[in-house]
Symmetry: C2
DNA sequence: TTTGATTTTGAGCAACTGTTCAAGTTAAAA
DNA sequence: TTTTAACTTGAACAGTTGCTCAAAATCAAA
């Protein structure tokens, strides 16, 4: 007894997310979004409430997608550290060409949002903390498997990993640095083992 | 034979820079700037040409200020590594409270600008490269003073330093992480020495 | 085939954006 | 004191922004 929704919600969120990831929240206009997802303002606002609402869905989707990629990489390797390295290589080398940005969308959010966008600042912080918790669990596993020393707490490994990963992505965002990706990833993991 | 300029150019650039540093380029409106520097549009555009022009001056000023702080820290310490550590501590611990942002304005620029802002993207890249060159020179000095092994090239030390520093600042931008600053800086420098 | 709840459309609003420029103000030089 | 080039002012413009809402389109149920 009604008209049916004519768009695939997940697909729309994914496409909008690609734009947001590339240009950031502020630099993405609602007209940009309308064109990208091929929806008129009325439909967008009926489905997502606001530009902020759509962005929220998009960044949550991104975080879930990333965690999914990490889980896949971990499943494909016996060693936790090898799984983590495979994930980092996939993101920084394979996906680097086709992804909307070389930077992590979560970190980009962390850079963009200040106290005058409290909702989105909080959301990005929350997603980052959840990712850290997931990483910590993985490093605990690595310690159980005797891959890493237990003198350093798992959460410290997780922090160190994120600092390395974020710093590395930021550096590789500069022009003409692609060739450095491989060696710098090696360096990253050898320094993790030395922690 | 004229009216005199009534504003201190350097002071205006500094104040505008603080706003840009805090909110980013896109989120800072020209009205925000007008209020902050207490100038009317006509004067601003006569002096700086455009919002981009003012931002350019501001980010160049920031880079120079930072390099000045680093030089000061290096002069106050016999050891290059101790000088670098003092600089990092000053930025991440002392200045962290009062600075407009916990993040580096150059890196923030690197995160914000895409190919549709080619001028500012290029400028931020250029300033980052110049900072790397300066850092490389310092690590060369550290090697000459036998503070660091010469097996690793100075430019690799400089890259590693930047990756650590950027990653660390990004991490410390998260809420409730201030207490971690000290230990993480120690960790950073012990890992540099192990490189 | 009609009904009616639901979704889609897109013109358009009010606020904000970066920027311009004619008019006013200033102060050194004549 | 007058002149005049330089600087400041702020109203206003044209374009963009996020968003609304009445009207049109849609389709399952009656």
């Amino acid at each position: 007894m009604a008209n049916k929704i004519k768009f695939e919600r997940d697909e729309v969120i994914r496409t909008a997310g690609q734009l947001f990831w590339q240009k950031g929240f502020n630099a993405t206009s609602t007209r940009d979004l309308q064109n990208a997802i091929n929806m008129r303002p009325g439909s967008i606002y009926a489905a997502f409430g606001s530009k902020e609402g759509l962005y929220s869905e998009a960044i949550k989707d991104y975080a879930q997608l990333m965690q999914g990629q990490l889980i896949t990489a971990l499943n494909e390797h016996e060693s936790v550290l090898n799984g983590l390295a495979a994930f980092v290589k996939k993101v920084l080398i394979e996906d680097a060409q086709c992804a909307p940005s070389k930077l992590c969308m979560l970190v980009k959010a962390n850079y963009e949002f200040t106290e005058d966008e409290p909702t989105l600042k909080l959301l990005s912080t929350d997603l980052a903390n959840k990712f850290e918790a997931f990483l910590t669990a993985q490093f605990e596993k690595a310690q159980q498997y005797k891959e890493l020393d237990t003198k350093t707490a798992a959460v410290e490994y997780a922090r160190y990993f994120q600092i390395q990963f974020t710093g590395l992505r930021s550096y590789l965002n500069r022009p003409n640095t692609h060739a450095l990706a491989g060696p710098l990833i090696e360096q990253m993991f050898s320094s993790i083992k030395q922690l």
